[in-house]
Symmetry: C2
Subunit: 125 residues, 2 copies
Protein backbone atom coordinates (compact mmCIF):
# COMPACT_ATOMS: atom_id res chain seq x y z
CA UNK A 1 0.00 0.00 0.00
CA UNK A 2 2.84 2.42 0.83
CA UNK A 3 4.30 1.96 -2.67
CA UNK A 4 0.89 2.55 -4.25
CA UNK A 5 0.29 5.67 -2.15
CA UNK A 6 3.72 7.05 -3.04
CA UNK A 7 2.93 6.50 -6.72
CA UNK A 8 -0.35 8.41 -6.39
CA UNK A 9 1.43 11.27 -4.59
CA UNK A 10 3.99 11.47 -7.38
CA UNK A 11 1.28 11.35 -10.07
CA UNK A 12 -0.74 13.95 -8.21
CA UNK A 13 2.08 16.48 -8.05
CA UNK A 14 3.02 15.82 -11.67
CA UNK A 15 -0.58 16.22 -12.87
CA UNK A 16 -1.12 19.45 -10.92
CA UNK A 17 1.76 20.76 -13.01
CA UNK A 18 0.64 19.41 -16.36
CA UNK A 19 -3.05 18.54 -16.25
CA UNK A 20 -5.40 17.57 -17.69
CA UNK A 21 -7.79 18.32 -14.84
CA UNK A 22 -9.73 15.13 -15.57
CA UNK A 23 -6.67 13.05 -14.70
CA UNK A 24 -6.23 14.86 -11.39
CA UNK A 25 -9.92 14.30 -10.59
CA UNK A 26 -9.51 10.60 -11.40
CA UNK A 27 -7.04 10.25 -8.53
CA UNK A 28 -9.90 11.10 -6.18
CA UNK A 29 -12.71 8.81 -5.01
CA UNK A 30 -16.13 10.07 -6.22
CA UNK A 31 -17.14 11.41 -2.79
CA UNK A 32 -13.71 12.72 -1.82
CA UNK A 33 -13.35 15.95 0.16
CA UNK A 34 -10.71 18.60 -0.34
CA UNK A 35 -9.89 21.49 1.98
CA UNK A 36 -7.32 23.80 0.43
CA UNK A 37 -6.14 25.56 2.47
CA UNK A 38 -7.25 23.66 5.58
CA UNK A 39 -9.83 25.66 7.50
CA UNK A 40 -11.66 26.84 4.38
CA UNK A 41 -14.99 25.40 3.25
CA UNK A 42 -14.49 21.76 2.22
CA UNK A 43 -15.39 20.83 -1.35
CA UNK A 44 -16.90 17.40 -1.88
CA UNK A 45 -17.22 15.25 -4.96
CA UNK A 46 -15.72 15.11 -8.44
CA UNK A 47 -17.58 18.12 -9.80
CA UNK A 48 -16.46 20.45 -7.02
CA UNK A 49 -12.93 19.04 -7.21
CA UNK A 50 -12.85 19.57 -10.98
CA UNK A 51 -13.88 23.22 -10.53
CA UNK A 52 -11.14 23.68 -7.97
CA UNK A 53 -8.34 22.41 -10.24
CA UNK A 54 -9.77 24.10 -13.32
CA UNK A 55 -8.71 27.43 -11.80
CA UNK A 56 -5.07 26.66 -12.61
CA UNK A 57 -5.73 24.67 -15.79
CA UNK A 58 -5.23 27.61 -18.12
CA UNK A 59 -2.04 28.86 -16.46
CA UNK A 60 1.50 28.11 -17.53
CA UNK A 61 2.77 26.15 -14.57
CA UNK A 62 5.11 23.55 -13.18
CA UNK A 63 5.31 21.54 -9.98
CA UNK A 64 7.94 19.70 -8.01
CA UNK A 65 7.64 17.25 -5.16
CA UNK A 66 10.18 17.50 -2.33
CA UNK A 67 10.76 13.73 -2.31
CA UNK A 68 12.62 13.73 1.01
CA UNK A 69 9.49 15.06 2.73
CA UNK A 70 7.07 12.31 1.69
CA UNK A 71 5.70 10.56 4.79
CA UNK A 72 3.31 7.64 4.53
CA UNK A 73 1.46 6.12 7.48
CA UNK A 74 -1.07 3.41 6.73
CA UNK A 75 -3.69 4.99 4.45
CA UNK A 76 -2.31 8.50 4.95
CA UNK A 77 0.40 10.60 3.34
CA UNK A 78 1.86 14.06 3.84
CA UNK A 79 4.43 15.85 1.73
CA UNK A 80 5.80 19.23 0.65
CA UNK A 81 5.50 20.29 -2.96
CA UNK A 82 5.89 23.49 -4.92
CA UNK A 83 3.66 24.96 -7.61
CA UNK A 84 4.98 27.73 -9.84
CA UNK A 85 2.54 29.55 -12.14
CA UNK A 86 3.30 32.22 -14.71
CA UNK A 87 0.69 34.70 -15.89
CA UNK A 88 0.63 38.34 -16.82
CA UNK A 89 4.39 38.70 -16.47
CA UNK A 90 4.33 37.43 -12.92
CA UNK A 91 5.71 34.30 -11.40
CA UNK A 92 3.78 32.95 -8.41
CA UNK A 93 5.33 30.29 -6.20
CA UNK A 94 3.26 28.37 -3.67
CA UNK A 95 4.64 25.62 -1.48
CA UNK A 96 2.12 23.76 0.69
CA UNK A 97 2.22 20.65 2.82
CA UNK A 98 -0.58 18.43 1.56
CA UNK A 99 -2.06 15.75 3.81
CA UNK A 100 -4.03 13.00 2.09
CA UNK A 101 -6.09 10.00 3.12
CA UNK A 102 -6.62 7.07 0.72
CA UNK A 103 -9.15 4.30 0.34
CA UNK A 104 -8.11 0.69 -0.08
CA UNK A 105 -8.03 1.15 -3.86
CA UNK A 106 -5.42 3.89 -3.55
CA UNK A 107 -7.83 6.69 -4.40
CA UNK A 108 -7.61 9.94 -2.47
CA UNK A 109 -10.62 10.35 -0.17
CA UNK A 110 -9.44 13.49 1.62
CA UNK A 111 -6.89 16.17 0.85
CA UNK A 112 -6.06 19.01 3.19
CA UNK A 113 -3.45 21.59 2.26
CA UNK A 114 -1.44 23.51 4.84
CA UNK A 115 -0.35 26.92 3.57
CA UNK A 116 -1.00 30.63 3.94
CA UNK A 117 0.02 33.81 2.17
CA UNK A 118 3.40 33.44 3.88
CA UNK A 119 4.09 30.34 1.79
CA UNK A 120 3.36 32.19 -1.44
CA UNK A 121 5.57 34.62 -3.32
CA UNK A 122 4.86 36.70 -6.40
CA UNK A 123 7.65 38.20 -8.48
CA UNK A 124 7.93 39.83 -11.87
CA UNK A 125 9.42 37.44 -14.41
CA UNK B 1 -2.37 33.78 15.56
CA UNK B 2 0.23 32.52 13.04
CA UNK B 3 3.06 33.91 15.17
CA UNK B 4 1.61 32.28 18.30
CA UNK B 5 1.18 28.93 16.52
CA UNK B 6 4.74 29.05 15.20
CA UNK B 7 5.99 29.70 18.74
CA UNK B 8 4.06 26.68 20.05
CA UNK B 9 5.46 24.49 17.23
CA UNK B 10 9.00 25.60 18.11
CA UNK B 11 8.40 25.03 21.83
CA UNK B 12 6.84 21.65 21.13
CA UNK B 13 9.81 20.37 19.13
CA UNK B 14 12.26 21.75 21.69
CA UNK B 15 10.39 20.18 24.62
CA UNK B 16 10.11 16.78 22.91
CA UNK B 17 13.91 16.90 22.90
CA UNK B 18 14.42 18.13 26.44
CA UNK B 19 11.28 17.52 28.46
CA UNK B 20 9.96 17.69 31.07
CA UNK B 21 6.88 15.76 29.96
CA UNK B 22 4.64 18.06 32.01
CA UNK B 23 5.67 21.02 29.87
CA UNK B 24 4.85 19.12 26.66
CA UNK B 25 1.45 18.17 28.08
CA UNK B 26 0.80 21.82 28.98
CA UNK B 27 0.94 22.74 25.29
CA UNK B 28 -2.18 20.59 24.80
CA UNK B 29 -5.76 21.50 25.67
CA UNK B 30 -7.18 19.21 28.40
CA UNK B 31 -9.31 17.19 25.98
CA UNK B 32 -6.80 17.16 23.10
CA UNK B 33 -6.43 14.09 20.91
CA UNK B 34 -3.17 12.69 19.54
CA UNK B 35 -2.76 10.07 16.84
CA UNK B 36 0.90 9.11 16.42
CA UNK B 37 1.29 7.69 13.89
CA UNK B 38 -1.96 8.65 12.16
CA UNK B 39 -4.18 5.61 11.74
CA UNK B 40 -3.38 4.22 15.19
CA UNK B 41 -5.78 4.42 18.13
CA UNK B 42 -6.21 8.08 19.12
CA UNK B 43 -5.27 9.00 22.69
CA UNK B 44 -7.39 11.66 24.37
CA UNK B 45 -6.73 13.88 27.34
CA UNK B 46 -3.76 14.98 29.42
CA UNK B 47 -3.28 11.67 31.21
CA UNK B 48 -3.09 9.62 28.01
CA UNK B 49 -0.88 12.27 26.40
CA UNK B 50 1.45 12.25 29.42
CA UNK B 51 1.80 8.46 29.18
CA UNK B 52 2.63 8.77 25.49
CA UNK B 53 5.48 11.25 25.98
CA UNK B 54 6.74 9.54 29.12
CA UNK B 55 7.94 6.70 26.88
CA UNK B 56 10.81 8.86 25.64
CA UNK B 57 11.32 10.81 28.87
CA UNK B 58 14.09 8.57 30.17
CA UNK B 59 16.01 8.41 26.88
CA UNK B 60 18.95 10.56 25.91
CA UNK B 61 17.55 12.51 23.00
CA UNK B 62 17.55 15.61 20.86
CA UNK B 63 15.18 17.16 18.34
CA UNK B 64 15.37 19.60 15.49
CA UNK B 65 12.66 21.40 13.59
CA UNK B 66 13.08 21.79 9.83
CA UNK B 67 12.09 25.49 9.94
CA UNK B 68 11.65 25.78 6.17
CA UNK B 69 8.87 23.19 6.31
CA UNK B 70 6.60 24.92 8.82
CA UNK B 71 3.23 25.64 7.22
CA UNK B 72 0.49 27.47 9.10
CA UNK B 73 -3.08 27.82 7.86
CA UNK B 74 -5.58 29.44 10.20
CA UNK B 75 -5.67 27.28 13.34
CA UNK B 76 -3.62 24.51 11.75
CA UNK B 77 0.07 23.79 11.34
CA UNK B 78 2.19 21.09 9.71
CA UNK B 79 5.95 20.67 9.84
CA UNK B 80 8.83 18.20 9.56
CA UNK B 81 10.99 17.55 12.59
CA UNK B 82 13.56 14.98 13.62
CA UNK B 83 13.92 13.12 16.89
CA UNK B 84 17.17 11.32 17.69
CA UNK B 85 17.28 9.02 20.70
CA UNK B 86 20.27 7.15 22.09
CA UNK B 87 19.90 4.04 24.22
CA UNK B 88 21.74 0.74 24.59
CA UNK B 89 24.48 1.79 22.19
CA UNK B 90 21.98 2.51 19.44
CA UNK B 91 21.03 5.75 17.81
CA UNK B 92 17.44 5.90 16.55
CA UNK B 93 16.39 8.67 14.18
CA UNK B 94 12.73 9.36 13.45
CA UNK B 95 11.53 12.16 11.20
CA UNK B 96 7.76 12.65 11.02
CA UNK B 97 5.50 15.30 9.57
CA UNK B 98 3.27 16.45 12.42
CA UNK B 99 -0.08 18.07 11.68
CA UNK B 100 -1.64 20.07 14.52
CA UNK B 101 -4.86 21.94 15.17
CA UNK B 102 -5.02 24.70 17.77
CA UNK B 103 -7.74 26.35 19.84
CA UNK B 104 -8.09 30.11 20.03
CA UNK B 105 -5.78 30.17 23.06
CA UNK B 106 -2.99 28.58 21.03
CA UNK B 107 -3.26 25.21 22.74
CA UNK B 108 -2.94 22.08 20.63
CA UNK B 109 -6.29 20.30 20.35
CA UNK B 110 -5.22 17.65 17.85
CA UNK B 111 -1.88 16.23 16.75
CA UNK B 112 -1.49 13.66 14.02
CA UNK B 113 1.94 12.37 13.05
CA UNK B 114 2.74 11.06 9.58
CA UNK B 115 5.53 8.48 9.65
CA UNK B 116 6.22 4.79 9.24
CA UNK B 117 9.15 2.47 9.78
CA UNK B 118 10.59 3.85 6.54
CA UNK B 119 11.10 7.20 8.26
CA UNK B 120 13.02 5.62 11.12
CA UNK B 121 16.61 4.44 11.16
CA UNK B 122 18.54 2.62 13.85
CA UNK B 123 22.32 2.54 13.87
CA UNK B 124 25.02 1.56 16.31
CA UNK B 125 26.60 4.62 17.90
Amino acid sequence: MAREIRDVVEQYVKLVGTGPTADIVDLYAPDAVIEDPIGTEPKQGHEAIREFYDVIASLERETSLAPETVRIAGNHAAFVFTLVTRAGGQRMTLSPIDAMEFDDDGRIIRMRAYWSAEDMSVEPE
